[in-house]
């Protein structure tokens, strides 16, 4: 019975969604896709297929690493601003303002060209174990994207920490929890739940920032498409495919993060 009801429900919703004009629009959209598939040149695909996969992997890897590290950095930044003493709150606020007030491209180039040109002047840097990494481009890209994510997300976490009802923290204190335990068991989880919808948006924004690393010679999926454009002299095909790939990643991200969001209890004041 229940299964039948769901099927009927799904069918009803589908018929509501598939109105006549939508069918026409979908047909037009499919026609455009087929026109693109047949009238544009795609013979370069097999040749660059593996390169594109490596680039895609690199983009996803950069996204995952910078979002994770950025979030770990955003928690103390938000906490310092929401509850820290002046000498912690002021630098955290200044950091967030500077990151949010300047273009990411500039930050990236500042780190890559600025710091990158500074390091070789010091012999002790060149002799240290970090030098093989500092000579490559990707650490600068990861660092810039991490700091950027931390700056934006730190501001979100400030609001999330401040938004947790005072009574919750007072109750925890009344139970004799230590400050660390309050943070770990009460404050951080609730702040995280509050920040989660924004976190989804920030993650998508972060995905859209990753192609900037191509400007400092990291070969991500965007750089692969530039390479294809340079060597095949095609303008549109690689860019269209690239846009499609980014849309697909965005769609998957929103879907997966939405699933996670739905699992979390949302009855919070």
């Amino acid at each position: 019975m229940a299964v039948e009801a769901t099927i009927v429900n799904v069918a009803a919703r589908a018929s509501l969604w598939l109105q006549p004009h939508r069918i026409v629009l979908i047909v037009i959209g499919l026609a455009l896709v087929f026109a693109a598939a047949f009238f544009m040149r795609w013979d370069w695909l097999p040749q660059y297929y593996e390169m594109a996969l490596v680039g895609l992997w690199r983009t996803l890897w950069i996204l995952a690493v910078t979002c994770t590290l950025g979030f770990l950095l955003a928690v103390p930044l938000g906490l310092a601003q929401a509850a820290g003493p002046f000498w912690l709150a002021a630098p955290a606020k200044a950091f967030c303002t500077v990151i949010r007030g300047t273009p990411l491209l500039l930050q990236l180039w500042l780190l890559y060209y600025g710091l990158g040109s500074l390091f070789p002047q010091y012999p002790w840097v060149r002799e240290s174990w970090m030098w093989p990494y500092l000579r490559q481009a990707w650490p600068y890209g990861v660092l810039a994207l991490t700091l950027s994510f931390a700056g934006y997300e730190g501001e979100v976490m400030r609001g999330a920490f401040a938004g947790v009802p005072k009574g919750q923290l007072e109750a925890a204190r009344a139970f004799g929890m230590s400050r660390w335990k309050i943070l770990r068991r009460i404050w951080l989880p609730q702040a995280f739940y509050r920040a989660l919808p924004t976190l989804t948006g920030e993650t998508v924004l972060q995905l859209k920032s990753t192609p900037l690393v191509a400007t400092i010679s990291v070969i991500d999926i965007f750089a692969v498409s530039s390479k294809v454009r340079q060597s095949t002299f095609l303008t549109y095909e690689p860019l269209l495919l690239l846009a499609l790939i980014y849309m697909a990643i965005t769609g998957i991200l929103v879907f997966v993060l939405g699933k996670i969001e739905a699992r979390i209890p949302n009855k919070i004041g």
């Binding site: 004009h21 500077v98 949010r100 273009p103 500039l106 180039w109 500042l110 500074l118 859209k208």
Partner: protein, 240 residues
């Protein structure tokens, strides 16, 4: 220290003048793109709220695609496709090919991107107006144009300003992306100056300070505008 001042001085041995020209171009593009975005946003919001089913679906496709694809990709796509398309149209109609200036192309491309975000901001703001006001205006027999000018736009302004302020700041920062397609604005000017003088850190820090000042000054002005737009409404602190 003396060398830094010499490098940043506005007259030719220094590169300060170059940076300022770049800043001017950046602000021009940001203002143009923001303005174009506002126009698209108002039309888009009206289309999404009052338009027929086809208009609504097309606008949904527009806002979804623009917000899901990186700005850099959109800029490349629209920059090349846009200029190419216009020139093909012109040759097909029997006119000469024209060179589209970087300024116009930049404004058009960023404005198209801004329009998608602006549409959503405006739509939310129009929905936040107590709908009785719009109904009352209709009952007075106002034409749609008059209704827009006298009721909808002023009434939605306080709700739209926080979102629009964000969009303006995004616009100023997105101009930096045009450096990738070779348009001479602040970031590209900085990179050229840095490349010639090899003083990378100095110039990139200087440009960062300029961008930051632009943001902070914008925030001040936006604060004023917000106070003006919310006159007669409960204060922000109480409302929050």
């Amino acid at each position: 220290m003396a060398r830094i001042i010499e490098l940043l001085s506005p007259t030719p041995p220094g590169w300060g003048g170059t940076l300022l020209v770049g800043l001017l171009h950046s602000v021009e593009i940001a203002a143009g793109a923001f303005g174009l975005g506002l126009v698209i946003g108002i039309c888009g919001a009206y289309g999404k709220l009052y338009g027929g089913p086809v208009v609504r679906d097309l606008l949904a496709v527009y806002t979804t695609i623009v917000r899901a694809v990186p700005e850099l990709v959109l800029i490349l796509l629209l920059y090349y496709a846009g200029t190419d398309l216009i020139n093909q149209l012109l040759t097909a109609m029997g006119y000469q090919r024209i060179d589209i200036s970087g300024l116009v192309a930049g404004i058009a491309v960023l404005g198209f991107v801004q329009g998608a975000y602006s549409t959503e901001v405006m739509r939310g703001a129009i929905l936040a107006i107590p709908q009785g006001q719009i109904e009352a205006a209709r009952a007075y027999g106002m034409s749609p144009g008059l209704l827009l000018r006298r009721i909808t736009l002023p009434a939605m302004l306080p709700f739209a300003i926080p979102g629009l302020a964000n969009l303006w700041l995004i616009a100023t920062k997105d101009t930096a992306l045009l450096a990738v397609v070779g348009f001479f604005e602040l970031t590209l000017a900085t990179r050229q100056a840095a490349g010639v003088t090899k003083a990378y850190l100095t110039f990139f820090l200087a440009a960062g300070v300029i961008y930051l000042l632009l943001t902070l000054v914008s925030n001040l002005i936006i604060g004023r505008i917000e106070v003006w737009a919310r006159r007669g409404m409960p204060s922000l602190k109480e409302a929050r």
